[in-house]
């Protein structure tokens, strides 16, 4: 107690700091309605990519690469080829692939070993697997199935004595064992129940018997020594690797979390709830810990659960959660140095919930909810619950308190019990041992009084088994480990038995050391780079081949129209389709906040939404209001919409909430629900459109305008001091800045469309993830509309002209929104289009409609449920129907397959089929010699694109660890997240349905800029150094003048691309190329009229 008082302040600070640090390891996902893509491992971004993944693997147990088997399948499917693998191997200097292991003509380098180990599985086997291989697969008479023909020939040719397959293989096996000094007899574990004298003698000889002065039998002493060491290790791992729950799990096989999770989640879910439960806690202001405690004290659950200490313990808890944490950790007997690590471990047991707690702590007052959210509260409750449940277990089993000291004391007295329990629950014991041990454990649980020491005999048997050759973890070389691996390796190298026998002990050691160097992390990173290189070569090749083909490099002619899309990879297909329909159109790409971040309050919104990148807070507000003369219509609209929304709330909330009054409600709603269900399921497309039209007609459409001009500009608008609308200077600055960033400060077409985007689907908790990431997971149509309105103001244009951006008077900006799910385009304020532009406008709308159908057709190829070769109209209907279909778990595929980004002029990429895999960001290096435009562009768009890409990457490589599993069993929780079933961890990341066709690789960003400009920017900007220098994205530069490509390699710097410009297939139009396959396609060249500029003239 003295120590607490003395160190209290310091300890508190330490714990506070540890909680602050939790954001590095916990998922940082916001409530689902505000889902925005971000790097899943954002907290590790300060480390180089491979180091970060290794660290995450260590801390959370989640492996961050595709499995080797998956990579091997990609290798077999030619998505990685030999050259990629060689290159990746050569680039990994620390593996020393050229180092020779065996000199001479038939020498062996490390690289040779790696090549085999990468291509085939060389892992150890279990005893039963080996038995199966030998008895069922005839592994000692035949080649392994995956051995290539050349290696087989080589091996057979080298076998002097025996040239037939069975004897050569058998000889090889003998040779492997012989050279390792092993003997192989298929020892069944149960043979150990009756040891022969020779066996016992042999094993006994192997014991380490030094210092044998004591009179105790050697085996007895050795066993105790080993058990004590293991006990020490286990208890020392508490904090850094395990919590008390983990320790007890290794000793009893029972998971405390299974019991306490439902209890905890009921309280926690109710506390964090955003509006599902009607009955909220009455003490919202007091914090979770106190609220929970006052509820728990009144809770008689301990009576039935046998938690005898519950009541007393709860009453004795301090009021302050921090004090509780300190007291609990003290009682646990954990050394001070491991306290913070222990809390981190505890938080990581339920990462989703802990992360949500932390997020809410960081965003106080989220949605105006009163509940105080603090992670200290949460951790205190976790600790108390863990203790109470542990107490029941340790009390019942061993009659001790659940503290490390007591456990140490008890098991030191009962080492055989520890040895047997630990072996049973952490390793795979053979059946005869497992059943005996389990029986003892069960008897102890029942509280029966056993004769003296029942554990000794079984512990002795387990210990004996562990040292026998039948065990897989015996020390030294083992048949299952080294023996089998050498056997496999030799086959793949084409080595005969003689060659293996020639190996010296030193060489063997080197070979195994080499194999061990290629651990999971190293091989994963190696494979990943090979995989990325394969696609990179294709992109580089396509860019090189397309050089000089794309129009509008200098915009000497005037395009028929210019359309500014979001940089989104999903728009690549749409833009290409549109350009194929009318080559005279120029398309551009930019982050779809369009430089006009603001708080948006739509006509029907009750509160404003921030339409800006997620790390910004806008300082301006823009409202949508009814046009003059439409006020009466608006009032009717508001009334009717109010009815409809209230009815919806009543149906969805009240009918669930109330008891008796729900009866008539249900009776009335049921027949309509039945009709709705049949119609939706029978004809989603037709019914969806009909219902939407009905809704629109009922709601009445009100013509609106934007209030975006600041009447009274503030001195300095800020997030705290939000200004209504933008002042003229601000408008000029925003419009001019944005146009210049795209290089669109000259050569304006008569029509410039600013195209925002969003997605809409019916039954999708992850809806926000499909929306515009540059607008924090919202629709970016309002930004487009706002930008167009500003750019059309004559005052703005006059001021811009003075700054050198000359927008001609016959040019008009249109705002629009592209629905990426159902391929619908909504144009805003079309009626304000000047008369002379009507024909051109009409033509453009028609072309956009055709592009929608083309884009839908292209998207449809990746859906398994669309018949191959469906015509465009059919495909379009299918795609639209998906958006309306409430049974669709995949309304659209989102950003799946995104892999690259090009920052540069469209002329670089126009004319290449990029299969919707490339973010396209417009930037004109010729108008930015010093890189002043490029710098903010990289700073803003680099993290956004990398965030999307990395979230897809991690959710794909390990969907269980980083993603949220299948949507099918998801259960929406508190309106902020999803669980699997009714009492699981909160699942974060992307669902399996979103990533199943994704190709997990880091984003390749190709910037069209001079190398020296890029270098200067990189040197100036720490955020870019972190992102690029640590390898979270791969950067390449394309020189605007020469087209030379350079790749940035972390550690070594820029290297020129060595590849040759390939001869790419030339196809007429995209539609001639893509149909018929589901897989990602290689880039090809399109025969768009090379002179788009000519066509536009």
């Amino acid at each position: 107690m003295r120590t607490i008082a003395a160190h209290s302040d310091e300890v508190r600070r330490e714990i506070r700091e540890a909680i602050r640090q939790l954001e590095h390891v916990l998922p940082g996902q916001a409530p689902l309605k505000g889902f925005v893509h971000h790097n899943t491992l954002h907290g590790f971004q300060h480390l180089p990519f491979p180091d970060a993944l290794a660290e995450v693997h260590r801390v959370t147990g989640n492996y961050g690469y595709l499995s080797s088997d998956r990579f091997r399948a990609l290798y077999a499917a030619d998505r990685i080829d030999r050259e990629d693998l060689e290159q990746a191997l050569a680039d990994t200097a620390e593996l020393e692939p050229d180092k020779s292991l065996i000199e001479g003509k038939q020498g062996l380098t490390r690289g040779d070993v790696y090549r085999v180990a990468l291509r085939v599985r060389l892992s150890k086997v279990t005893a039963s697997q080996l038995g199966w291989q030998i008895e069922e697969q005839e592994a000692l008479q035949r080649f392994q199935d995956d051995v290539p023909e050349s290696a087989r020939q080589c091996l057979l040719a080298a076998s002097t004595g025996s040239t037939d397959e069975p004897s050569a293989i058998a000889d090889l096996w003998d040779a492997c064992l012989q050279s390792l000094g092993l003997q192989h007899f298929l020892l069944h574990p149960e043979d150990l129940t009756d040891l022969s004298a020779e066996q016992a003698e042999q094993m006994f000889e192997g014991l380490d018997k030094d210092g044998s002065t004591s009179t105790q039998p050697v085996t007895h002493r050795e066993m105790r020594r080993e058990a004590a060491a293991r006990l020490g290790t286990l208890l020392d791992r508490t904090g850094t690797e395990l919590t008390l729950r983990g320790v007890l799990k290794e000793l009893t096989g029972e998971d405390l979390l299974d019991e306490l999770r439902p209890v905890l989640l009921r309280h926690l879910g109710a506390w964090l709830d955003l509006g599902l439960a009607a009955w909220r806690s009455a003490d919202a202001g007091q914090g979770f810990y106190r609220s929970w405690r006052s509820s728990a004290v009144r809770d008689p659950v301990w009576l039935f659960e046998g938690l005898d200490d519950w009541h007393v313990h709860l009453k004795s808890l301090p009021n302050d959660p921090m004090e509780t944490i300190i007291a609990e950790l003290e009682r646990l007997g954990l050394p001070r140095g491991r306290w913070t690590a222990y809390l981190e471990r505890l938080a990581l047991e339920l990462p989703g919930w802990s992360g949500m707690m932390l997020w809410r702590e960081r965003h106080p007052g989220h949605e105006g909810l009163p509940e105080a959210v603090d992670c200290v509260d949460y951790l205190a409750v976790r600790l108390v619950l863990e203790r109470l449940h542990a107490q029941r277990m340790t009390g019942r089993l061993w009659g001790v308190e659940p503290s490390l000291d007591m456990l140490r004391w008890y098991f030191h007295k009962n080492l055989p019990e520890f040895l047997a329990r630990h072996a049973l629950y952490t390793t795979r014991l053979p059946e005869y041992l497992a059943s005996q041990t389990r029986r003892l454990a069960l008897a102890q649980q029942a509280g029966s009084r056993e004769p003296s020491d029942p554990w000794s005999q079984v512990a002795r048997m387990i210990w004996t088994w562990q040292r026998s050759p039948a065990s897989e973890q015996s020390a030294g070389y083992s048949v299952f480990r080294e023996g089998w691996r050498l056997f496999r390796l030799a086959q793949h190298l084409g080595w005969s038995g003689e060659r293996v026998r020639d190996l010296s002990a030193e060489q063997l050691r080197e070979i195994f050391a080499t194999l061990d160097r290629l651990d999971a992390e190293t091989s994963g990173y190696l494979w990943l780079r090979a995989y990325e290189r394969h696609y990179r070569e294709q992109v580089f090749g396509a860019l090189a081949a397309n050089r000089g083909r794309g129009p509008w490099a200098e915009r000497r002619e005037r395009p028929a129209a210019q359309i500014v899309f979001c940089m989104d990879d999903r728009e690549e297909g749409f833009r290409r389709q549109l350009e194929e329909i009318n080559p005279a159109i120029e398309t551009l790409g930019a982050a779809a906040h369009f430089g006009v971040s603001h708080w948006w309050r739509g006509l029907d919104d009750s509160r404003p939404t921030g339409l800006c990148p997620v790390d910004l807070v806008p300082s301006h507000e823009v409202r949508e209001s009814p046009r003059r003369g439409a006020e009466r219509l608006y009032r009717r609209h508001a009334r009717r919409r109010g009815w409809r929304v209230r009815l919806g709330d009543a149906v969805n909330q009240e009918l669930r909430r109330n008891l008796l009054s729900s009866v008539p409600g249900i009776v009335a709603a049921a027949p309509i629900a039945g009709l709705d269900l049949s119609a939706k399921l029978a004809a989603p497309f037709r019914f969806g459109r009909w219902a939407r039209r009905l809704r629109e007609r009922f709601d009445l459409t009100v013509p609106t305008e934007l209030d975006y001009v600041a009447e009274r500009p503030l001195e300095a608008p800020s997030p705290e001091n939000v200004q209504s609308g933008f002042s003229l200077e601000e408008q000029v600055a925003r419009v001019g800045g944005f146009l210049r960033s795209m290089g669109l400060d000259h050569g304006f077409a008569p029509l410039v469309v600013i195209m925002g985007h969003g997605s809409d689907s019916r039954n999708n908790p992850h809806l926000s993830a499909y929306n515009c990431g540059a607008c924090s997971g919202n629709h970016s149509g309002p930004n487009a509309r706002l930008f167009a309105a500003m750019a059309n103001r004559s005052e703005v244009r006059v001021a811009l002209r003075r700054q050198g951006v000359d927008i001609p008077d016959d040019c008009w900006f249109l705002g629009a929104e592209h629905n990426t799910c159902d391929e619908e385009i909504t144009c805003y304020d079309l009626d304000r289009l000047p008369g002379p532009l009507h024909p051109a406008g009409q033509r453009l709308l028609d072309e956009l409609d055709r592009a929608c159908i083309g884009s839908a057709h292209e998207r449809a190829r990746k859906f398994a449920s669309v018949r191959r070769g469906a015509d465009p109209q059919r495909a379009w209907r299918h795609i639209v129907g998906r958006g309306y279909d409430f049974s669709q778990a995949r309304p659209e595929l989102g950003h799946a397959t995104n892999a690259a980004a090009v920052i540069g002029r469209r002329s670089l990429t126009r004319g290449v089929f990029f299969d919707r895999r490339v973010f396209l960001i417009s930037y004109d290096p010729t108008r930015d010699p010093e890189g002043e435009i490029l710098e903010p562009l990289l700073l803003a768009n680099g993290p956004v694109a990398a965030g999307i890409n990395l979230e897809y990457y991690f959710s794909t490589v390990n969907n269980d660890g980083f993603g949220c599993g299948s949507k099918v069993t998801h259960n929406v929780t508190g309106l902020f997240g999803v669980m699997d079933g009714a009492a699981s961890d909160l699942r974060t990341g992307l669902p399996r349905q979103m990533i199943e066709i994704h190709e997990a690789m880091r984003l390749l960003v190709v910037v069209e800029a001079r190398l020296d400009v890029l270098k200067r920017i990189y040197d100036r900007q720490p955020p870019l150094q972190e992102l690029i220098g640590n390898g979270w994205l791969v950067l390449a530069a394309m020189d605007p003048a020469s087209g030379a490509l350079h790749l940035f390699q972390p550690g070594t710097g820029w290297a020129a691309w060595q590849g040759q410009t390939p001869k790419l297939t030339l196809v007429e139009r995209s539609v001639d190329y893509y149909p018929g396959t589901l897989e990602p396609l290689e880039p090809v060249l399109l025969r768009t009229p090379a002179g788009g500029e000519r066509a536009g003239a």
């Binding site: 309605k33 009756d194 040891l195 016992a200 006994f204 014991l207 299974d258 879910g269 964090l272 955003l274 509006g275 599902l276 439960a277 009607a278 009955w279 909220r280 006052s294 009144r298 809770d299 659950v301 039935f304 659960e305 029986r439 069960l442 008897a443 029942a446 002795r460 004996t464 009750s606 919806g648 709330d649 009240e654 009918l655 669930r656 909430r657 008891l659 009866v663 249900i666 009776v667 709603a669 049921a670 027949p671 629900a673 269900l677 039954n763 398994a864 279909d885 409430f886 049974s887 669709q888 778990a889 099918v968 069993t969 259960n971 929406v972 929780t973 309106l975 699997d980 079933g981 009714a982």
Partner: protein
């Protein structure tokens, strides 16, 4: 004609399920490639089933229901005759139509929703089985046939809760739900037995008519059996907790089982037994009491639930509780309408559950002040009124303890009696070997006995030896006294065991059995 149509209604889905199973076993429809075929077979069977039901129910709207339709004999053994027959009355036909519709809708929903899931075929197979089961329950003309459906529904429910069997939570909860339902099944079996014993038949009609002839006590007991089944299946207090654990399966299965159809099977059974219930006033009172409890339990607990599936589930439980109240009060018509419309509504609501956060514009309306202030009640609601821990405490734990005792009995007495091999003399650890090396050969037993006879001989020999040694050779009385004290200890031990409640219960049960 009617009998053919009626029989085809459950047979078609079963047939389709068999087809899918056969295809899966032979590898014909596995994986993604087999999805289209599976989906078509399933929807085709369910659709045809719906059409056939409509062939029966639509004409019934204007011509009146055809009534009971005998199909044939199932088995005959002495007095016991099991018939296959359908009760095509308005209640049965209306429910059969609803069942077919909801199942078809769910199947169609699942085609897209479960696309590319590893358990796609399994899901459709089980859902078809469930459809057949529900059709059997609602259309069966006698209790025995309904029981077949009853069991099939239970099994398919188990299989779908554990659909994601890789998650320990899912399999654990499935087992729990399954076991709770077995209690109800025991009640059903009791009902079957009594109706055969007292009324000589299982026919719903016979049970209804015969009820009038039964004494009130007998009618009460007979009704109790069936009610037990109904209460368990419809998750009423005290069986309620299982259904909250049943939400581990895919959303469509949660919708069709626990939101829509299976949860109403109990209400349907009560409706079927309307005439019997009228003869058993005690049971009707029981229904009202339990129904009110359930409604309050579901409503209050539902108010505190913070995940969609649980919130909907408790709300459903509460409404079903109300239906039992209507039945207990004798308002069977109201209960029937409530049941049918509620089933339809919940199917819609559960299937839309993932979209909830995009369908509501504001948080749920807070509870009124008088309720909000009751903190203790909120704790109770949050803890679901401790129904589960209490049941565990009262039933599960004693049962498990009993199991362990039996196991020990087995180990200590039975296996020794029958002479299972023991490894007492082998060298099975290095320590054994070492001690043997050091201490020379361990004293080997002269001969080893195996089996009862061997043991008996050994024991006899030992006894004689001991007798000779202690009583004859050493003389004196203290040996005898020790023996008596030993016996006394044994008696004490037995008494101590009997004092434990579980053995008291066993004894009481044995007494009952003997008396009966």
């Amino acid at each position: 004609m009617n009998e053919v149509i009626a029989s085809l209604v459950p047979v078609l889905p079963i047939g389709a399920a068999m087809w899918i199973a056969a295809g899966y076993v032979t590898g014909k429809n596995r994986g993604e490639a087999g999805e289209r075929q599976t989906a078509w077979i399933a929807q085709g069977a369910a659709g045809s089933s719906l059409l056939l039901v409509l062939c029966l129910s639509l004409p019934a709207v204007w011509r009146g229901a055809p009534g009971p339709v005998p199909v044939g004999e199932w088995l005959r053994s002495g007095d016991l005759v099991l018939r296959v027959s359908f009760a095509l009355d308005p209640l049965g036909l209306a429910m059969a139509t609803l069942v077919a519709f909801v199942c078809l809708a769910t199947l169609r929903f699942s085609v897209n929703y479960l696309h590319r899931e590893a358990g796609f075929q399994r899901f459709f197979l089980v859902l078809l089985l469930f459809m057949a089961a529900m059709e059997l329950i609602v259309m069966a003309g006698n209790a025995a046939l309904a029981f077949v459906g009853w069991e099939l529904a239970g099994v398919s429910s188990y299989l779908l809760i554990a659909w994601a069997f890789g998650r320990p939570n899912a399999s654990r909860n499935a087992t729990r739900a399954f076991l709770t339902n077995r209690v109800g099944d025991a009640g059903f079996v009791l009902g079957l037995f009594l109706s055969w014993h007292w009324l000589g038949d299982f026919d719903w009609g016979t049970i209804g008519r015969g009820a009038a002839g039964l004494s009130t006590v007998n009618a009460d007991i007979l009704a109790l059996g069936f009610l037990l089944a109904a209460l368990a299946k419809s998750a009423q207090v005290p069986f309620a907790p299982w259904i909250a654990r049943a939400l581990e399966g895919p959303t469509p299965s949660s919708a069709v089982f626990y939101g829509s159809l299976m949860v109403h099977a109990g209400v349907f059974l009560v409706l079927r037994l309307e005439p019997l219930l009228l003869q058993a006033p005690q049971m009707a009172h029981l229904l009202v009491v339990l129904g009110v409890f359930t409604a309050l339990y579901g409503w209050l607990s539902g108010l505190t639930q913070s995940d969609v599936k649980s919130a909907l589930m408790f709300s459903t439980t509460a409404q079903v509780g109300l239906m039992f109240v209507w039945c207990g009060l004798g308002w069977f018509e109201l209960a029937a309408w409530h049941m049918a419309l509620h089933a339809l509504w919940r199917a819609w609501q559960f299937l839309h559950a993932p979209a909830l956060m995009h369908m509501v514009s504001r948080p749920a309306r807070p509870v009124p002040g008088w309720l909000a202030r009751r903190r203790r009640l909120r704790t109770a609601a949050l803890q679901r009124f401790w129904l589960e821990p209490v049941t565990d405490w009262l039933l599960v734990r004693p049962t498990r303890a009993l199991g362990r005792d039996v196991d020990r009995f087995d180990e200590i007495i039975v296996s020794r009696m029958v002479g299972l091999p023991e490894q007492e003399h082998a060298v099975s650890s290095l320590s054994d070997w070492e001690s043997r090396q050091q201490g020379g050969a361990a004293p080997q037993a002269f001969g080893q006995a195996r089996g009862i006879l061997g043991r008996l001989m050994e024991w006899l020999a030992n006894l004689l030896h001991w007798f000779e040694d202690r009583l004859v050779l050493r003389g004196g009385g203290e040996g005898l006294i020790r023996v008596l004290r030993h016996l006394g200890n044994y008696a004490l031990e037995i008494e101590r065991l009997l004092e434990r409640p579980r053995y008291m219960m066993v004894l009481i049960m044995i007494t009952f059995v003997v008396i009966l």
